[in-house]
């Protein structure tokens, strides 16, 4: 990945590439809006899944710890935002205050999960993290009595959008005669944050901390014998991963304006884990690709399965919703069969490493 951001040697080419990517990212929502506003929303959710997958990648991909309850941190972040920016308690804090708070609380939850599981591996870790995710969801569902904190299964409504100095991310403005819709505004915000998150992940991986995580993943006993405090490093991985989830949750709350425990079910944890595994565990770029693919495929199918059946058979044979998930499952199986190490193989990593001799001279 480093080679990506390393402009030494061929600056012109790299800058041209970057400019092209930037232009594409800026133009994308307008193109999508042309197809249908739904696609901008879908893209925004896909970006949120990128955050989640990148966060989980720290725990699973870098440190090699299984976590089947990751969505709980997303939930924590979402509820922190919802409670501090909605009529639920009549509190309306600005988003730049709540997002860090959500990250912090998710981070604390991450350590709460991490602490008791430090000595666990494999199956046991899977079961405990799965249980943790469910506990959080069940709490969200039931914390409506005796004191109504979460409003139970009804969830929380009328959540504030992001507001910055009178500029609201909700509603539509007109810029140069173009409709700047709410999803498009969020899109730009999300993409900027995503780029930051990617940089943070790449930097973490290529650091003393990232190497310590990878050492733990590869061989915990050897890592300890080399002087790595595995307890602290694992806690750190859980905490970092959870904070990413917390931030993503806050953004989800604001974008949707409504949240309920329904959004933080086990299937979601499994989905995010699939994104990480499918994209290529430990490979930041691969994880982003995995998250985008798994976010888009079901949506593309949603819009194509029905019409395709109509075109071929003249009527709907199988319920599109069922058929869509069937195809999605099939796609997952095929991807794992043909790309067992993930969609993006380690070629990028190799390139990064090939710089060594040049550096040494």
């Amino acid at each position: 990945m480093h080679a990506f951001f390393d402009t030494r040697g061929r600056p012109a080419l790299v800058w041209a590439g970057l400019a092209l990517v930037a232009a594409a990212l800026i133009a994308l929502p307008w193109v999508l809006a042309g197809i249908g506003t739904a696609w901008v929303r879908i893209t925004n959710l896909a970006v949120l899944y990128c955050f989640l997958a990148l966060g989980l990648n720290i725990v699973v991909g870098f440190a090699g710890l299984l976590d089947l309850g990751y969505i709980a941190f997303y939930g924590v972040g979402a509820y922190v935002y919802a409670l501090l920016a909605s009529p639920q308690f009549g509190i309306h804090l600005p988003f730049w205050v709540i997002l860090p708070l959500g990250a912090l609380l998710a981070c604390i939850f991450g350590m709460l999960l991490g602490a008791p599981t430090l000595k666990l591996r494999g199956d046991y870790l899977a079961i405990v993290t799965l249980g943790f995710g469910e506990i959080v969801r069940i709490f969200l569902n039931n914390l409506s009595t005796p004191f109504n904190l979460t409003n139970g299964p009804q969830g929380i409504t009328l959540i504030d959008p992001f507001r910055l100095d009178g500029f609201s991310f909700a509603g539509t403005q007109h810029v140069f005669g173009q409709a700047l819709t709410s999803p498009i505004k969020y899109y730009y915000f999300l993409v900027i944050v995503l780029l930051l998150v990617i940089v943070v992940n790449v930097r973490l991986q290529n650091s003393r901390i990232g190497r310590a995580w990878e050492a733990i993943r590869e061989d915990e006993v050897a890592a300890r014998a080399m002087g790595i405090n595995t307890r602290n490093m694992k806690l750190l991985a859980y905490a970092m991963g959870a904070s990413f989830g917390g931030i993503a949750g806050g953004m989800f709350s604001a974008m949707q304006g409504f949240i309920s425990p329904e959004s933080f079910v086990l299937v979601e944890s499994i989905m995010v884990l699939s994104m990480v595994v499918l994209g290529g565990m430990g490979n930041v770029f691969g994880v982003v690709v995995g998250a985008l693919m798994l976010s888009y495929i079901p949506e593309v199918l949603r819009y194509t399965v029905g019409p395709a059946q109509m075109a071929v058979f003249g009527r709907t044979l199988i319920d599109p919703e069922v058929f869509r998930m069937l195809l999605f499952g099939l796609a997952l199986v095929l991807m794992m069969l043909f790309r067992p190490a993930g969609i993006v193989p380690s070629a990028l990593r190799k390139r990064e490493l090939e710089q060594v001799p040049a550096d040494v001279g």
């Binding site: 973490l204 650091s207 990878e214 590869e218 014998a225």
Partner: protein
């Protein structure tokens, strides 16, 4: 790593070390001391307790009794990472490299314990973090060169030849700047040429002022490179002393070495 060489005194003192695994007494009342700057051999038949001694020394297992005093202070109940921080690094009998990291990255991991960058530093990559990172890289490449596997720097550790993996493990251990380097059968699986290369590597590591504790079955290597030797048998100390004396010790020959090997030794 400076004035230690030749300075009088003991780097590691072990007193009455005991370790049981259920009914098996892996170590019983083992006492010995290692002097600064020497290469100290640890030999004994299979199952004698050599690896177990490494494991209790480095904190991977907790010992049942006894104490280790390292450089004047006790090592009691330290975790493996704390032992490494104090200055004891080891290799493993069944090579334990970070298989899917490159050779260079393996050594860079060894620098962890002597460097400082935090998460915040890693994310913001200020000048201090960048300098440190550069130094880690430079030192790690030096070490790869030192043990002779620099040409494989970018290859995944799992793709290295067996002998190279053993050397890489030594480089990784050296990266932690140990005062005592504990090697568990580094010559296992090496051919004669590779073993000769290993021998000169050990000599030069010692020459740099690092004390070495060496478990080895290759008697020729042990007798040629070790200053003193400890012989374990069934978890007990059988003999300790200069290599030349130990190989003449009747009990050692009778209980451990046997006729064949003693003949072999004379040739060494």
């Amino acid at each position: 790593m400076s004035g230690d060489t030749g300075a009088a005194g003991e780097l590691l003192v072990a007193r009455d070390i005991g370790k049981r695994f259920g009914g098996i007494a892996a170590l019983t009342d083992v006492s010995f001391s290692i002097r600064r700057g020497e290469i100290y051999g640890l030999i004994g038949p299979n199952g004698a307790g050599k690896t177990s001694l490494f494991n209790v020394l480095t904190g991977i297992y907790t010992k049942d009794s006894g104490t280790f005093v390292f450089d004047g202070s006790p090592l009691d109940d330290l975790k493996p990472n704390e032992v490494a921080e104090r200055g004891i690094a080891r290799t493993f009998q069944n090579i334990r490299l970070f298989a899917n990291l490159s050779a260079l990255e393996n050594v860079m991991v060894g620098r962890h314990v002597r460097t400082k960058a935090t998460v915040v530093g890693a994310i913001f990559r200020g000048p201090r973090t960048r300098d440190e990172e550069r130094a880690i890289r430079r030192r790690s490449i030096e070490l790869l060169d030192y043990v002779g596997v620099k040409r494989r720097a970018n290859d995944l550790a799992k793709h290295l030849a067996y002998g190279d993996q053993r050397r890489l493990e030594i480089a990784r251990a050296l990266a932690t700047e140990p005062r005592l380097l504990a090697l568990d059968e580094p010559a296992a699986g090496m051919n004669a040429t590779e073993t000769a290369g290993l021998r000169s590597l050990l000599e030069s590591i010692r020459g740099d002022g690092t004390t070495i504790l060496l478990i080895e079955h290759d008697m020729k290597l042990v007798m040629s490179v070790c200053d003193r030797v400890l012989v374990l048998d069934y978890g007990r100390k059988l003999a300790e002393g200069p290599a030349a004396e130990v190989q003449k010790n009747e009990r050692v020959i009778a209980a451990y070495l046997g006729g064949d090997v003693s003949l072999n030794l004379k040739g060494a």
